[in-house]
């Protein structure tokens, strides 16, 4: 238990500050945006292409038929196929629920369909904050003793080196996960308070789902936690292997730049999110709404991430154990 006390020294609590500030800002954005959809029932989340305006259900039906007709001429490899398919699913959903166009929040800008979005206002900034916080905290938690010189006393204490490594990992992972749960719960409560509409999202490939705020908050929370576990594990064990946090931090920056590159060059504005966050989001949402049948692509991307982190953890532990402390 002594490692718990050490973990919650002032130095490490400072790492939580950016996240708390980020949450406060997100909460403010959420409340101010609340007026925007006073008369709207639905909002649309990412990965849904623009749909045409319709004034009646008949007009929506004709749009549906037109899209169905167009898609019949397209092969699966066609560039337009995915867009048309998603539009078709979208029209089918709106038609089956009798949703009028006016009740859908209109969108502004190219990246989002509405000013209010769980992704834009919360999950995205929190994801970025959690990414950096977890990389820095994870890297420093195990390497700080080597920088400060206290490693001499820690690793000559008679406790197994791997026990120290894993106990710190477990405690810090649990502490950060608990923090994310608290943050997301607060956010969900704020969101419920402003009477936001349900969110329509394309969760998992080619599936349209409608989520209440509660559902959305749970999925978002699981998504952030699952991602956090991956990033944190990789940063922690890589730092342990190097006895130094500089190389893992540089690695994390390169990965981040790579993600930003995908973001800017992707077909959809938020492709970068699909790379890490959305794959998990889609995976969790798919499992939540469709039982044990999530999107194969999302599942594969997540598995690759999990195995990468696990490989780094195993290799890092072995190197850490074999290596001299001093």
């Amino acid at each position: 238990m002594k490692h718990v006390k050490y973990f919650f020294t002032r130095k490490y609590l400072l790492f939580l500050l950016p996240v708390i500030i980020g949450i406060a800002i997100s909460g403010y954005m959420m409340v101010t945006d609340g007026e925007f959809y006073d008369n709207n029932i639905y909002t649309v989340s990412h990965f849904v292409p623009e749909i045409q305006e319709y004034s009646s259900m008949e007009e929506l039906e004709s749009l549906l038929e037109k899209t169905r007709f167009e898609i019949s001429f397209l092969g699966k490899d066609d560039e337009e196929y995915e867009d048309k398919l998603i539009k078709l699913l979208w029209y089918e959903y709106l038609y089956s629920t009798g949703t009028e166009y006016d009740t859908i929040a209109s969108y502004e800008g190219s990246r989002k369909f509405t000013k209010f979005s769980m992704f834009d206002n919360f999950s995205e900034p929190v994801f970025i904050l959690v990414y950096f916080m977890s990389v820095i905290a994870g890297a420093l938690l195990i390497t700080w003793d080597f920088q400060a010189g206290t490693a001499k006393l820690i690793y000559s204490s008679g406790e197994n080196k791997l026990k120290v490594l894993f106990s710190r990992y477990g405690i810090s992972l649990a502490a950060f996960s608990a923090l994310i749960i608290v943050i997301e719960t607060v956010y969900a409560l704020i969101a419920s308070g402003v009477g936001g509409p349900s969110e329509i999202g394309l969760m998992a490939q080619f599936r349209i789902n409608v989520f209440s705020f509660g559902e959305y908050a749970i999925i978002s929370m699981l998504s952030v936690i699952l991602n956090f576990w991956i990033v944190y594990t990789a940063a922690y064990f890589a730092s342990a292997a190097f006895h130094n946090c500089v190389i893992p931090l540089c690695g994390a920056m390169i990965v981040f730049v790579f993600i930003m590159f995908i973001r800017n060059s992707g077909a959809y504005g938020s492709m970068w999110m699909k790379f890490l966050d959305s794959s998990v989001f889609g995976l969790v949402a798919g499992m939540y709404k469709n039982g044990s049948n999530p999107s194969a692509t999302d599942f594969l991307i997540y598995l690759v991430n999990v195995f990468s982190a696990a490989a780094i953890a195993v290799a890092g532990s072995v190197v850490f154990y074999k290596r001299d402390v001093l």
Binding site: K2, T9, G149, K152, L153, Y155, S156, S157, G158, L326
Partner: protein, 289 residues
């Protein structure tokens, strides 16, 4: 208590320890002395389980690398003592020591009551050094490993540190310390080892290097040259009118003294039989060879 046999350690193909054999029992203070880079600290790192090694190193019959639980009663202070700066000295003591039964007694002996409850951030280098010695002694019920424990301590603190180490020895712990303050440490130690080029010489072994070192200043250089030529194999150092000689053999030493008496000399200084003297003899004889 602690025995090493053919202990070796290399860093990037450089052999630092080349088969060190050492033995120390409980209730003993053992000194390890040697020049910078001779492998003193490396030896302590191996004993503290902080570095892997070749050969054998056993504490109470167990290897600290293979069975680290043996280190639970081993106190360590290596290089500059480092602690969690946001904690007080006492909190650090609690953090790093499993058994605090002797803590209060040792705090009083070392005279650190004034600052033990202050944050380590506010400590001077000397205060940290004292906390380092204290932590190692409180934790090390069986074995205490101290690397340059007297660095940065004033004269009064040195006396208190000596008293603390002596108390540890009497309580049945085995203490191994390295130091460059040879005269001070030598007087404290029951036994000492000199490390040179990764090899070790026990104090018993050092007897063969002789007990006498003479530094002689002659009136003129020719006379000095004549003596140096006669006792060439014993010369450690030479400048124009001054030279140093060391003798392992008593007959040779007497011959030298007789030879000197027949010459014009300004001064003859004989070193006493200290660790420092032995160390100097060993080093200079080696250089002369």
């Amino acid at each position: 208590m602690i025995t090493t046999s053919k202990l070796t350690k290399s860093y990037r193909k450089k052999d630092v320890l080349k088969g060190v054999d050492l033995e120390a029992e409980r209730g003993q203070i053992v000194g390890i002395f040697g020049a910078n880079g001779s492998g003193k600290t490396t030896f302590l790192k191996c004993a503290a389980g902080l570095a892997s090694f070749g050969g054998e190193l056993l504490i109470d019959g167990r290897s600290p690398v293979k069975d680290c639980s043996v280190l639970k009663e081993v106190g360590v202070m290596i290089d500059v003592p480092s602690f969690y700066k946001d904690m007080t000295g006492r909190e650090n003591l609690k953090f790093f020591c499993n058994d605090l039964s002797s803590a209060e007694q040792y705090i009083k002996i070392l005279g650190v009551e004034d600052f033990i409850d202050k944050r380590v951030r506010t400590y001077s280098a000397g205060m940290r050094q004292k906390l380092g010695i204290l932590t190692a002694c409180v934790k090390g019920k069986k074995l205490v490993l101290l690397d340059e424990p007297f660095n940065g301590l004033d004269v009064l603190s040195l006396d208190k540190a000596d008293e603390l180490l002596d108390t540890c020895r009497k309580s049945g712990a085995c203490l191994i310390l390295t130091s460059h303050m040879l005269e001070h440490s030598g007087a404290l130690c029951d036994r000492y080892y000199l490390l040179k080029d990764g090899k070790v010489f026990k104090n018993e072994d050092l007897e063969k290097f002789g007990k006498r070192l003479y530094r002689v200043e002659m009136k003129d250089a020719d006379c000095a040259d004549a003596i140096v030529r006669k006792f060439e194999s014993n010369v450690c150092d030479k400048s124009a009118k001054t030279f140093e000689v060391a003798f392992e053999n008593e007959d040779e030493r007497l011959k030298f003294l007789n030879a000197i008496l027949g010459c014009d000399f300004l001064s003859v200084k004989e070193t006493t039989d200290t660790v420092e003297g032995k160390y100097r003899i060993m080093e200079r004889k080696d250089e002369a060879r």
